[in-house]
């Protein structure tokens, strides 16, 4: 029993890290309808910026953290302006964007391989990782609780923005037809930049959390593939879906590893992805708009 | 004479919307009939039901005496049914000629092995398919555009290409969904001629949805009018034009 509780806690805490990242995926998907695999890249940009600001420039954590968020936000905007925008203007096939984003991810990762080297860096425990005892033997770390709360705060804010403001509506309209959204008076370039800025910011938050929880190295962005799977399971484009999907995925992983076999955990993750798509292509919370003939 | 198509009490719901309501009518072989009705009356939906694009909620569709409810879309052609679309659905990445060949090839066979090697019957068969497709293009007056990409044709021409593609299937029953949409009066006139022409030449049964009354009233001896998913009038054009319900729901008071 104690083990079960501990594994559930482990699962939720892993899920909360996924959630932070998955929300970013979903946000970009909700406007441009493509899966931005460069998200992992933004994440490590955030992580390294924070690391260098703390260690080389000697800033305090608040300044460093803030700088990292802004920096990653701008990196995301730059990526969008330099690579996605020209593609979007030439073709409407979103798969090209997807491939370009994978390319960007490789580029960013390897820029850090070259400039920061293959060494592992650890952020000082700016976010406390001390064990927190819940009930009995069950433990989690303070970091996990903070990351869960952060994920919910961002999610709530974004959700309100998207559903309650006219800019949110504009985002959804732009998602379906950028040109026509322009004809409605929406400055779509600016709108998209804002979305990417927020996505970059979210990625940086995820990057800092991940660097503290694990360690900082150029391939750290790889973990985002799980967050991506979570976003799909929850329903791409749905922010609550992203969070729910993440928690489900975290639980599935930990329970598989804990009670079946740790080798099978990724198999379970990807099988869940495939099964979800077959049963409900738009995920748990995605809405299914059928094409009219 | 037997009915080539019989609709018997068709019903279709989309969520709360009762899009098709107890619709029954039938088409005799060789008829040229019009289907009219206000926007959202359910006309396109009826085409979609006949061709199996949407499943039927209740009722029967009988073609040549055979019940074809729950037909798979791809089996419609096998029963001799072809259609065009309200929103053009051409193969935009293929040439005009290829569009028609794609339809026409079903009447000619060669084996997979021949396809993979271009040996045997391949060459001869391909030539036949091509020649036939050219004939259909000439019918709709597009032969000169055979090598253009389908998507670059002007709108009105694309509509005619859809008709040629449907004809190449050699159907018995042709369903046309707003073939004159976006055409100017001049072109509508030409289209009238085309429809009447193919109707005769290919011995077709045609059901056409249109909002251009100058087309329907001129060429369709049999007109069905829908409103809110239900048939409100059926008969020859003169009768329909004078039907007060049709006037009120669809044509507006004064009709010339």
């Amino acid at each position: 029993m104690a083990t079960l509780i501990q594994q559930i806690i482990n699962g939720l805490s892993l899920g909360s890290i996924y959630a932070l990242i998955a929300v970013g995926y979903s946000l970009v998907y909700s406007i441009l309808m493509f899966s931005n695999f460069a998200h992992g890249g933004f994440l490590i940009i955030g992580g390294y910026l924070c690391y260098f600001a703390l260690n080389s420039a000697g800033f305090n954590i608040w300044v460093a953290g803030f700088g990292a968020l802004i920096g990653a936000g701008f990196a995301a905007v730059a990526t969008e302006r330099l690579t996605y925008k020209p593609i979007r203007e030439r073709t409407s096939v979103t798969l090209y964007l997807l491939i370009a984003s994978m390319g960007m991810n490789i580029v960013i990762e390897n820029i850090f391989v070259i400039v920061a080297g293959g060494r592992f860096r650890a952020l000082p425990p700016v976010i406390p990782t001390t064990p927190v005892h819940l009930f009995g033997n069950a433990t989690t770390s303070a970091l996990d609780l903070i990351s869960l709360v952060t994920a919910f705060v961002f999610l709530g804010g974004l959700q309100l923005f998207l559903t309650k403001t006219k800019w949110g509506l504009a985002i959804r309209a732009a998602a379906c037809d950028l040109r026509v959204a322009g004809l409605m008076g929406v400055n779509t370039s600016k709108l998209i930049s804002i979305v990417f800025f927020v996505a970059g910011l979210l990625a940086a938050v995820g990057g800092i959390f991940l660097s503290v929880r694990y360690t900082l190295y150029p391939q750290l962005g790889m973990i985002t593939i799980k967050a991506f799977v979570a976003a799909v399971i929850g329903g791409l484009g749905s922010l609550p879906g992203a969070v729910v999907g993440s928690l489900i995925l975290g639980l599935a992983e930990m329970l598989t590893a804990g009670f079946l076999s740790s080798q099978l955990r990724d198999l379970v993750v990807f099988s869940l992805l495939v099964i979800t798509l077959i049963v409900r292509p738009t995920g748990l919370f995605g809405k299914d708009v059928k094409e009219k003939v | 004479m037997t009915a080539i198509l019989e609709l018997d009490n068709l019903n279709k719901f989309f969520g709360g919307v009762h899009a098709v309501r107890d619709v029954s009518f039938s088409l005799e072989k060789g008829e040229l009939a019009g289907l009219i009705g206000p926007n959202g009356a359910g006309k396109t939906t009826i085409f979609n039901l006949i061709t199996g694009v949407y499943p039927l909620d209740s009722g029967h569709i009988v073609s040549n005496g055979k019940e074809i409810n729950g037909l798979r879309t791809c089996d419609a052609v096998g029963l001799g049914i072809a259609r065009t679309f309200q929103n053009l659905r051409l193969f935009k990445g293929s040439t005009v000629l290829e569009n028609v060949m794609t339809a026409g090839q079903r009447h000619h066979r060669y084996s997979f092995l021949e396809a993979a090697t271009h040996l045997g019957r391949w060459k001869k068969t391909e030539k036949t398919i091509r020649d036939e497709a050219m004939e259909y293009l000439e019918k709709v007056n597009l032969a000169k555009d055979a090598d253009r990409m389908a998507g670059t044709l002007p709108y009105g021409h694309q509509r005619r290409l859809e008709i040629a593609r449907a004809l190449a299937l050699r159907p018995e029953l042709l369903l046309l969904d707003e073939p004159a949409a976006g055409m100017n009066p001049e072109e509508v006139q030409a289209l009238n001629g085309l429809i009447v022409g193919i109707h005769k030449e290919f011995d077709l049964t045609i059901l056409v949805i249109e909002h251009h009354m100058e087309l329907v009233m001129e060429i369709c001896p049999h007109v069905v009018c829908l409103n809110f998913g239900a048939v409100i009038a059926e008969g020859p054009p003169e009768e329909i034009q004078g039907n007060p319900e049709v006037l009120k729901a669809y044509l507006g008071e004064e009709v010339e």
Binding site: T3, L14, G118, R119, H133, Y214, T215, Y217, G258, S262 | -
Partner: protein, 360 residues
């Protein structure tokens, strides 16, 4: 004058970059030293280093290139059994010798049928012995009875060492209460396995893996509140682990090939520092990479030829060769005989010599 081309297979990027960068540096140091002395019997040495990013696929490609394009006389590296096993077929077909630096799995030098691979060599001890060292240390020196193993299923080395350890530990009367796996280079979260280990009541956790994963495991174990668990690791010990695991590293034990305070190596450390302005942090790889080069120089000298077949013969015939860290003699399976087992302890932020052990 004829030069000798030697290939070096190093992980310069990826998870193992710290190990590989050090090896590359020490190999270059050895080459510079020998060339400064006029080369081997007048033959200058040329070093060709390729990165394999910690992946077999890249290693295989790099070796192909060394063999086909650079036509090297011998290859040194890599620093992991899996890499050497993957490349063994190639070098043996091409008849070019390859020396593994810390590649400890038996399969590095023998094939699936148990026959020695004529062109594969190593300078370190093997895992049956290492497994025994770990088991002896845990059972006899630390007095532990309930061991847990958490090993990398993607690694030939980890799978082998786990097996050898468990066998020996049971022979010494201990019990393996948890035997958990993960996937190296992919997994970063080990809390599920650690929870099971905690539940099993293990008193020692044996880590036969590469550095990054071991560091993350130790860190997460302490975060789960597993404060009393003692860590005993294999020869994957690396200084870069401190950066990841921090204080969680303190008081862990590591079975290894060499000691950082070996007086015979003092000059090496000095020279390294002078040349690279950096202390040779990953000293295990540093020392073994350095001596592997010297071993090869000696073999070339004895073969008196740049012909790879003759060099391989000379390597196989090595007997009582005095290198810097040890004196080596090859056995019939191309493994050096009677190498020391050294225990390091992680203390005050670095790895320190703890003791030398010799299990019965």
């Amino acid at each position: 004058e004829e030069t000798v081309k030697i290939g070096y297979l190093a992980a310069l990027t990826g998870d193992w970059a710290a190990y590989g960068q050090t090896e590359k540096n020490t190999a270059q140091l050895a080459v510079d030293e020998i060339n400064a002395k006029g080369g081997i019997d007048g033959r200058k040495v040329e070093l060709v280093v390729y990165d394999f990013r910690g992946r077999q696929e890249d290693a295989v490609n790099a070796v192909r290139r060394l063999l086909e394009e650079d036509k090297v006389s011998a290859i040194v590296g890599a620093n992991a059994s899996g890499i050497n096993i993957a490349t063994a077929a190639l070098v043996n077909r091409a008849e070019v010798p390859q020396i593994g630096t810390v590649s400890t799995n038996p399969m590095v030098t023998v094939d699936r049928k148990g026959k020695v691979r004529p062109y594969s060599f190593r300078i370190c001890f093997t895992d049956p012995y290492q497994g025994k060292l770990i088991a002896w240390f845990a059972a006899k020196e630390l007095g532990k009875t309930k061991a847990a193993v958490l090993y990398d299923i993607a690694s030939d080395y980890a799978q082998g060492l786990r097996e050898f350890f468990i066998k020996s530990f049971e022979e010494y009367g201990g019990e393996t209460v948890a035997d958990e796996a993960f996937k190296g280079a992919q997994d970063v979260d080990f809390r599920a396995q650690l929870t099971k280990i905690r539940e099993a009541g293990a008193d020692v956790l044996v880590l036969p893996n590469m550095g990054k994963e071991m560091a993350l495991i130790m860190k997460q174990a302490r975060e789960l509140g597993m404060d009393d668990l003692v860590f005993v690791g294999g020869d994957g010990y690396a200084e870069f682990m401190w950066e990841i695991a921090g204080k969680s590293m303190e008081n862990s034990y590591w079975i290894n090939h060499v000691s950082p305070s070996d007086p015979n190596m003092a000059k090496f450390f000095e020279d390294y520092e002078a040349k690279y302005n950096d202390e040779c942090k990953e000293f295990v790889n540093g020392i073994l990479g350095y001596d592997a080069m010297y071993w090869l120089f000696d073999a070339i000298d004895r073969a008196d030829s740049t012909d790879s077949v003759k060099i391989a013969q000379a390597l196989a015939d090595t007997k009582d060769l005095q290198l810097h860290h040890a004196t080596i003699t090859m056995d019939e399976f191309h493994n050096p005989l009677n190498k020391d087992g050294i225990v390091l302890i992680a203390k005050d932020g670095k790895g320190q010599f703890f003791k030398k052990i010799k299990p019965e």
